[in-house]
Symmetry: C2
Subunit: 446 residues, 2 copies
């Protein structure tokens, strides 16, 4: 990196994370220099609206509105993109890289969609991209993968990487709160956006899974190759029956090897209360990795919020000034622009156990008919539990209907979906069949 007497940083976008980063880089700058031995400082905050920056009492002299002026300043070696979105953010990122400035970003959508392109532009300009803050906020999981665990072949990655969803599911599971109410709470606490779609649909988790799995497995991951389902359709009834069976519901972002191919999925899943991920509550995130030398390791912390995310952003800035970021970026062949597209397991080919819930007319022989269909598709059933009707249900269901919970053994997803489609056609089945994947403890491979 070019040696200049004073090394400056610029922040593009002064929202929650931008503001917290600016605060850390001003309030704690003496500590940061003392701790790192690097003499750097925040020179610019680029935005069009400085209301939030003013609320934080950030110095007016930092505020500028023209990115080009900042990029023209040779003292600026690092620009932090924190505007979010993929349209303006992409243009800005390309501008920053072409101006030969190192880029730090917390923008998961941007890297999940345009990572390959941006990384090659960075390489052409001999600068680096750092993105610790894109996944799981302040948890140093990206570093764990590209540095601490570099000696490992990874078999699987399981993550709780969306704090909004985990907060909502924790409330529904532990406090019996309805989805609607839990979401409202999350919004009141500032844990969910006014429009929560990106979070509750699972798309935000998919963006993070694409980034994490690309460096974990050293492959290009196409966002569209991830099967995504969200938490917005979950019913309290199923969360409770799962709990009675010893399972906790979590939105799990999963990437694992399956017969030599990679299978990628984001879905609400039942995990055993024995698994460390089951204990991850509220807005916290955690990522479990299963690796050939280390075995199971897990990384836990705050996956969102200004200050925790700023912790990751600033560690990236420091890495760039230390010169370590450049070495990792230049030498390691694991980055998206240096790898090949992943060999993916065709959707439907995945195997797993499932929780099914069927509401059906309560008369003799009905279960036999359903069992027969499952038998036709070689789906073996490990248990069937006929449940009481809850008051909630009673409102919509006449007494003659009963909910039945079925736990399958390991089945091929495709076969299961076909069987479900068939059973759905029976006139004694009310509404759609609910099915939730059961995530068994992943075996350590040594």
């Amino acid at each position: 990196m070019k040696k200049v007497k004073k090394q400056a940083v610029a922040i593009l976008g002064c929202g929650t994370v931008g503001g917290a980063t600016a605060k850390l880089l001003t309030q704690d700058i003496d500590f940061l220099r003392k701790r790192t031995g690097v003499n750097f400082y925040l020179k610019y905050i680029i935005d069009i609206n400085f209301n939030h920056a003013k609320e934080l009492n950030l110095d007016n002299s930092l505020f500028v509105s023209n990115l080009d002026d900042v990029l023209a300043d040779p003292e600026v070696l690092v620009v932090v993109e924190l505007v979010g979105g993929t349209t303006f953010a992409k243009k800005a990122a390309i501008k920053i890289l072409n101006a030969k400035k190192n880029l730090v970003t917390a923008n998961k959508a941007l890297l999940a969609k345009h990572g390959v392109e941006l990384f090659s532009i960075a390489r052409k300009n001999k600068v680096s991209i750092c993105f610790e803050a894109t996944c799981a906020g302040g948890i140093p999981i990206i570093r764990a993968i590209y540095d601490g665990l570099l000696a490992n072949k990874h078999d699987a990655l399981y993550g709780i990487v969306n704090g909004t969803c985990n907060y909502i599911l924790t409330e529904m599971t532990l406090n019996g709160v309805s989805y609607k109410r839990a979401l409202k709470e999350a919004q009141e606490k500032g844990l969910a956006e006014a429009d929560p779609t990106l979070d509750v649909s699972g798309m935000d988790s998919a963006h993070k899974l694409a980034i994490l799995s690309s460096i974990t497995f050293g492959m290009q991951i196409d966002l569209d190759s991830i099967t995504v389902s969200g938490i917005d359709k979950l019913d309290q009834f199923d969360i409770n029956s799962g709990k009675e069976l010893g399972y906790i519901i979590k939105l799990i972002a999963m990437a694992r090897h399956d017969e030599g191919q990679l299978s990628l999925r984001v879905a609400p899943s039942f995990i055993s209360t024995e698994h460390p991920l089951a204990w991850v509550s509220g807005p916290f995130n955690a990522i479990s990795l299963y690796s050939h030398a280390l075995g199971h390791s897990m990384y836990y912390g705050r996956g969102a919020g200004g200050s925790p995310t700023a912790s990751a952003v600033v560690s990236d800035i420091i890495g760039l000034f230390l010169g370590t970021a450049e070495k990792f970026f230049k030498t390691l062949p694991i980055w998206p622009d240096k790898t090949k597209p992943a060999a993916l397991l065709p959707s439907g080919e995945g195997k797993g156990r499932y929780y099914l819930r069927i509401v059906l007319k309560n008369y003799a022989g009905v279960l036999a008919k359903i069992a027969a269909v499952f038998a036709d598709y070689n789906i073996s059933i490990s248990s069937v539990i006929q449940k009481e009707i809850t008051e909630e249900m009673a409102e919509e269901i006449t007494e003659s209907y009963v909910p039945v919970v079925i736990i399958t053994h390991k089945v091929r997803e495709e076969a299961l979906l076909k069987a479900i489609a068939k059973v759905d056609t029976f006139d004694f089945v009310k509404g759609k069949i609910v099915y939730i994947s059961i995530m068994d403890e992943h075996e350590e491979i040594f």
Copy 2:
């Protein structure tokens, strides 16, 4: 780092970790080169006995018995010290550094006792020391502290850093096994040494705490300044009564700020079942950090064993060849030789809640006498539970005695010890009073 066409590693000591490291560096060398973009290889295994190496089918051509010959080879840039102990290991480490070879070590006792000296010798010779494997085996916790969390001021560190102790305590807690039997099991499983003293006494945890806290807080930590107690005196009875009160017993290595000073302790502690550390079972380790920007984060994984520890050793080797290790080592002012001795809280000054168990003659007015003593020392009691005598106890205790469990509010340790000493003198008190610290959830500071 000197550029040579081929970059060689030598391993000193081919025991469990040495063997696993050699295995990883030979069996998986093609993968490692592909994954890291660095062309390196294992050239020597230095030992006096190669039985274990032969069992692992390591190539005879690697075996040498003279360290000096290896140090004379300019192709060798990194030597990994895995002999353990502090006498020969220290001599060897100094030799390696003076020969201008970078040192990778898993030797916690060596660094805890002689870190300052070794680091300055390394600096004189312009080489680096890497020690990820000294603490919590394969968990990249050292990197988390010096890299991923570098932007943080840390308030506290709590760790379960000894797999042997955690295995024994898990067995005692979950399966009601006695200490003796759990230890025997651990030895049969290869999780405990034939002489388990270093582990069960808490000294091994103290070594790791000294290393972790020195870089977490950027201070020199004198091993003798850590208050250490082990698990060998724990009684099943107390583990069970703690459990009934919602606490799990763990051997906790703790370093935290207390009124601006640092307090360091290794002790069996009761932690609430709500705390993530309570779920860390069997031979697994975990470290919780409380930091001013990130808040609470935790790092979980296998803290011992050949292959998990080799994962950390090899990541250090790769860091040295990448050139990142050198940058961290040279620039950061957090290493023991660059910092000042810690300002420590005088022992006894620490405050906390405690579990006490007193066995006393069962007649009227006895508890009142004890309560009076506690009152004299301003120790307020939150609850008193008179327990049933267990069969085990009945053997040693005549019926007229009953065990009484007392939970205190926050008290100064010194006052508590004085009160206990006083109560111990009462003739109606049988044996010594058992006291175990209760570790409440540490508050996040943002």
